[in-house]
């Protein structure tokens, strides 16, 4: 699967299928600080991303 990340902008490839919660663990990210978006839809942590999917891990934290 292709994973798009921001701050800094980059793309990484992970082996799928994988649960969203496991993607967070593998990339060492805190779920509270991100949203996972597939297409235009949000995904919850129990959902599975297929190997051929593209997802965005979008940070929600701003400088305030």
């Amino acid at each position: 699967m292709k994973v798009h990340l921001s701050h800094p902008t980059r793309d990484v490839v992970l082996q799928g299928p994988k649960r969203v919660a496991d993607i967070f663990k593998e990339l060492d990210l805190i779920p509270e600080a991100f949203l996972i978006i597939r297409g235009q839809d949000l995904m919850t942590e129990d959902e599975t991303v297929a190997d051929g999917d593209s997802i965005e891990i979008r940070p929600v934290i701003s400088g305030g």
């Binding site: 949203l35 235009q40 949000l42 959902e47 929600v60 934290i61 305030g64």
Partner: protein, 311 residues
């Protein structure tokens, strides 16, 4: 995961509430929480004119959208800071939102351009006066939002500060024991003296993640990119620390900030109020007449220093 209120697929789990919502129920939940914040803190009424400070980010555009959906009389102000690339991209998001969402509801956008006022963008200006960019930016934004609200007779100025912002700011103030700043952490700051607009934070009950999810679900096209000047900001460190605590103990941020507000309310009967303190410490600036603790306000001093540096 299923929505806890209807049979649809959930789009967001809210661990601090031990629940999950579909897109429609999340939208209802967020709008209800904002309305509850407005009423509980007596922020404004449907008759008041409100000026929202917008930046192109998720919080301010979401706040603008929610206040319109709730039927309030709201306009917006965008301050163009002149940060190369970033400012033009953020302005584009704000103008697009204004055109597509706000203007059809009769809501207007005002743009203030720092370069027209100061002769330079925020970065150059901060360099000229030898101050950190974020500090100069804060001074300019606070000044211009208050000026526009006051001069155009808005009863209230609203900002998109959320639970994460307020909890992180509280953590910073407590770690440094900056007690004098604690009183200004209320989500409702009164128009304490002539020249100050009332300031409110209707998103203080919502986390950044909930607001971002609301924006995605409601197709609010905001700028995801972070301000390049915020890199390394202390606020980001505090937010990260709080999110690590939140992961271990859901509800930590809410308990920390709301608990502080509860204590502040209980102590308000014995301690002098912010209005009382302001009325004894503030006077009109000798240059612009906005309230200040000094003879000349920090904005006017900053502009004077910038003009001297140019010469």
């Amino acid at each position: 995961m299923r929505c806890r209120k209807c049979p649809k697929r959930a789009v967001l789990g809210l661990t601090r509430h031990n629940t999950a919502f579909c897109g429609d129920c999340l939208t209802d939940f967020v709008r209800t929480q904002v309305q509850r914040a407005i009423k509980a803190q007596r922020m404004f009424s449907p008759e008041d004119r409100i000026l929202v400070a917008v930046s192109g980010g998720k919080d301010s555009l979401t706040l603008w959208e929610i206040l319109l959906k709730l039927g309030y009389r709201v306009d917006a102000l965008y301050v163009d800071l002149g940060i190369p690339g970033y400012s033009s991209r953020s302005k584009e998001k704000v103008e697009q939102f204004a055109k597509v969402v706000a203007e059809p509801c009769g809501s207007q956008l005002t743009i203030h351009t720092v370069e027209e006022d100061a002769g330079a963008g925020i970065k150059e200006l901060a360099n000229m006066i030898k101050r950190p960019t974020c500090s100069a930016c804060g001074t300019i934004k606070r000044y211009q939002f208050n000026r526009v609200a006051w001069q155009n007779h808005y009863q209230v100025m609203a900002t998109g500060h959320n639970l994460d912002d307020e909890a992180a700011r509280l953590l910073g103030n407590v770690l440094q024991w900056q007690e004098e700043y604690l009183q200004k952490q209320s989500p409702n700051l009164p128009a304490s003296v002539e020249g100050f607009a009332k300031k409110v934070k209707p998103l203080y009950r919502m986390t950044e993640r909930e607001i971002a999810a609301y924006a995605v679900v409601n197709r609010i096209d905001y700028l995801v990119e972070e301000c390049p000047m915020a890199k390394g900001a202390k606020m980001l460190v505090y937010k990260d620390a709080l999110n690590r605590l939140e992961a271990e103990s859901p509800g930590t941020k809410q308990r920390f900030y709301w608990g502080f507000l509860d204590r502040q309310e209980k102590s308000s009967s014995v301690a002098p109020s912010m209005s009382e303190i302001d009325q004894t410490t503030l006077q009109p600036c000798t240059v612009c007449s906005q309230p200040t603790t000094a003879g000349t306000c920090s904005f006017c001093r900053m502009m004077a220093r910038a003009k001297t540096a140019v010469k």
